[in-house]
Symmetry: C2
Subunit: 226 residues, 2 copies
Amino acid sequence: MTLAANANGVNFRQHGPVDANRNRRTRYHHGDLRNALISAATDLARTGGPEAVVLREAARRVGVSATAAYRHFDGHGDLLHAVKLQAHAGLAASMERAAAAVPPSGDERIDTDRRFRALAHGYVAFAMAEPGLFRTGFQHEGTLRTNDSPEQVRSYSMLTEALDDLVARGLMPVSRRPLAETAAWAPMHGICLLILDGPLAQLDEAARSEAVERLIDVVMGGLCRP
Amino acid sequence: MTLAANANGVNFRQHGPVDANRNRRTRYHHGDLRNALISAATDLARTGGPEAVVLREAARRVGVSATAAYRHFDGHGDLLHAVKLQAHAGLAASMERAAAAVPPSGDERIDTDRRFRALAHGYVAFAMAEPGLFRTGFQHEGTLRTNDSPEQVRSYSMLTEALDDLVARGLMPVSRRPLAETAAWAPMHGICLLILDGPLAQLDEAARSEAVERLIDVVMGGLCRP
DNA sequence: GGGTCATGTTTACGACGTCAACATCCGGGC
DNA sequence: GCCCGGATGTTGACGTCGTAAACATGACCC
């Protein structure tokens, strides 16, 4: 990873000609330290979960003194919070990808059902692929403030739209629409954590996806039964 | 809290006559340090969650040097693990209490249904009453080993029996029995964490229990539909 | 009654989060 | 073109944490 890489793909400013001999940061000012720190901290979370998000280590990796971070973050909690936002962004992206990958079948009712299930799969897939990030995203410390994560809003609205579609296509009775977001979200969230940190950790890959499939069936059945 | 108090209610040994003037531990040997430390650490978890389980602070509260803990635990992780067992014990007790409180209605089918729902309520009730302990119980660090928590086995077998009862009373088709434990557990676990650490944290008490009730209905509907 | 081993204590080390004081340098006003 | 102020980064220090090594105490067995 070069120093120029960061979470948002923003390169830091170049003032004056770059010294090719030692372009690995000799400049006193970094130029994009905030993003660089977020990126480093996110890597830490990816590898070791929330406990691994250590301010000093992130600074070390960026090649900067630990206290420099305080020019851009309120402290460790604030840095951790920034990583949580990254995690939720990844989660939303995974759900979006899964839903977008549903091939049109010609039957809109079938597609609507599949898109809803795909959201659930995308959720679980992210948790399995990035357990450290997933855990960090739902860490209690530094709980997300309202309205501070457009990514979380995005994933929530994807869910809402999928549920509305189920109603629109007549797959789910309107009477069951209230609180369906919670009823759909909680089961998938729960199974992710039971697999990552709970008693389901011992299951092998096959048993896991079987359990996930069964769970989705139960939820769909409960939500959509007439 | 006196020094004699501990997780198992075991008083530590009294050798020789107790000095009434300073019975607050002047003896060199504590007598029941392991349990005293677990109790103190559990209090820390209860108040502040897993991050608050600090070995030195637990030792301080017991009135003992920090390194004394190493005579009874492998280190911080081992102490935390002991707290996790306490948490799971409390969780199982809460479920058991809730199930036992179901009043007999005369109709066994109704009672079976109510007992199952009561288990779910007991699960959530514990998470709401002891958020710090609940979080600590499902902390990744120091994940429970197989077979090392009889309490966890107990709560799991309560769930298994409740599901078997649903089948026995004809409330749930046998075809839906496989993997029902996971399908029932995950939703309740998920909603607890979404409320404690996730986006459902902002809901007031009324909205929460409504969401929980709705979730239980969806799960029951999905599990039991013919 | 004396030795032994479990159980506590003291001291020390490195890592962490954080604060205060100091250094560097970018950009705007003369 | 220069200079100065504020943004940005560094150094050094403090208290806390987990942990290890060396030492102290005393319960129990022969």
